[in-house]
Symmetry: C2
Subunit: 390 residues, 2 copies
Amino acid sequence: MAKNLSALDSALDSMGVDGFLIDAASSDPDQLYLSGFDAPDAFTTLYANGVHLLVSSLEYGRAKKESDAETVTRTSEYDYYEKIAEYGPEGAENRILVEFLSDRGVESVAVPTRFPVGIADGLRDAGVSVTPEETAVITEIRATKTDEEIEHVRVAQKANEVSMRAAEDLLSAATVENGILHHDGEVLISERVKEEIEVTLLRHGAALDETIVACGSDAADPHNRGSGPLKANEAIIVDIFPRDKASKYHADMTRTFVKGEPSDKIRARYNLTHEAFDAALEAVEPGVTGEEVHDAVCDVYENAGYETLRSDPNTETGFIHSTGHGIGLDVHEYPKVSPAGGELKPGHVITIEPGLYDPEVGGVRIEDLVVVTEDGYENLTDYPIELVVG
Amino acid sequence: MAKNLSALDSALDSMGVDGFLIDAASSDPDQLYLSGFDAPDAFTTLYANGVHLLVSSLEYGRAKKESDAETVTRTSEYDYYEKIAEYGPEGAENRILVEFLSDRGVESVAVPTRFPVGIADGLRDAGVSVTPEETAVITEIRATKTDEEIEHVRVAQKANEVSMRAAEDLLSAATVENGILHHDGEVLISERVKEEIEVTLLRHGAALDETIVACGSDAADPHNRGSGPLKANEAIIVDIFPRDKASKYHADMTRTFVKGEPSDKIRARYNLTHEAFDAALEAVEPGVTGEEVHDAVCDVYENAGYETLRSDPNTETGFIHSTGHGIGLDVHEYPKVSPAGGELKPGHVITIEPGLYDPEVGGVRIEDLVVVTEDGYENLTDYPIELVVG
């Protein structure tokens, strides 16, 4: 199953332009998706009767071999060095781009809104029409994954499961002194658990920029990454969202652990969150909207007397975020599983991650990663949902 | 010693504009430098009578606490949600930015050439003049480091030394069977050494996106990251350029190792490269140009009969890259230590990394990291320069 770019064709038709142009490094997921080329520095991708790359000489050989492009052109084919001598590096690159477009009969392009203004000005000065797109078409296309992309996410989630296990094992091996977790004769801090997670991911071909290991009141703020000593009898949220280093696709999973004895309040909130989690999964199937899945979670919480952003948009406790999000080349991408979430379709890969937060009690969250299928969903996550660690 | 932004003031004066505007995440080193704020999503920094941030509500508290800004404004202060309802998210953000600039009396801005065209168009439509800068002023300012920045690089290089030691220890512990390195009963491959480097860096607060462990003919291509089995009696280039996770500053070091007995050719090239390395360091002092340091390396190689890009711009063997580069928030930044390199100044942090390459022989390279001082340089690297591992 190859990439389906028909929505891009339609968008270009309705905008009345000849092509779509990206100038970015592959750290931009739309660039990586359209070009199929992983490169650290910015390069140019033109979509007009197929995908065409314009790259430096340095990247030419690799782009020919590795990219999804029908043609690859190197800047040196356009007298790059002569042009640099005459116009400077930036002037040279703009002139080359104008010639590259002209050679393909392209007189007007749509571009992402974050396309560089310096290049856009250069093209416009040369008579090429440049129109920032109204909606991010490639970002929308990326929401629906091919079987190969789903497999990439699955592989990343497998590494994630091993790293979650390493984190839980560390909590399990810890001892408790004066209510504080200890390991290897030292206080066990959040940073130490994160390091264990990251090292484990590396050993399994994955990496991460950030991870969450947050305890007690830290965990009551969903944006707090967590730091310092971990405490017994309090809820510890472990949320890991790594990227497979080879494929660049992400995974995502959250578990909440208590070392020791959870309070009745924590246990009740955990069990209710598990119920909300099940209700959300129950709702996932093609044709259902992200909003409906989110509503299933809100129903469970609100029926039990908790606030949600649906019942009170200003609440700072209760269920204070979305139910989930799409995931792929970006950690957060379409579709939304929130009040703004549209219709789910087969091939959408989404997280389901309800949670409850209160600085007085702490935070609990449970998150799995699933793919929407023709008749429901498949869970890409294989990790127990248990609160108390041994 | 604080950041010296006087060159930015001069540039804005000579462009006749009211301010400088960046819209980017902190992954853009100029944004991180000017704002002093580390955030994963794009935010706005205005330089006009000081540094002023415009951020989402989500980042407001942290930006107030952590950034270098004199004022921090959140988008919600400009009726963000009302504007979204009326104009959509992008229209709302453009209108807020126009009001934000107007409140500060800013009617014209210079922007980086990679500033987003969608935002530039919105500002221009509202009557704000937007001019892409001709030279990257903040990138130029960043070349000269404060004492605090030099300390960040020093800390990153310390972690790098430990990871280089881990790599060398792995080669040292390897056995040789049929000319191939083995470790723990398995063939020792490049990827395994890279993993050891990365894990060691993580244990010391640093991270990397890529590293080079390249053997034999792989190492003869300076852009080849290396893969597969490592061989005895061949030169193995280990080039590590990590980033300290806390400060975001980089380090850089290269060593070349042979497990077993190097050929006379490899040994001669290594010794000559060591000589070229010493000649380059000998040349480093304020007032000398990057080109002169590069010339010192070329002199040594050419006098010994090797080609350089100076003696033959098209050569594919010999010394086929620059002598070095500046390093800081970016792995490669100003100043250049190459034919295009201008005057070195105290506070410049540069690599010195001569090397010789030939597919028939392999590659050798030696690289240290130094800071230019008032009367010469200080080497920030403490690692032996020895070819043969035990």
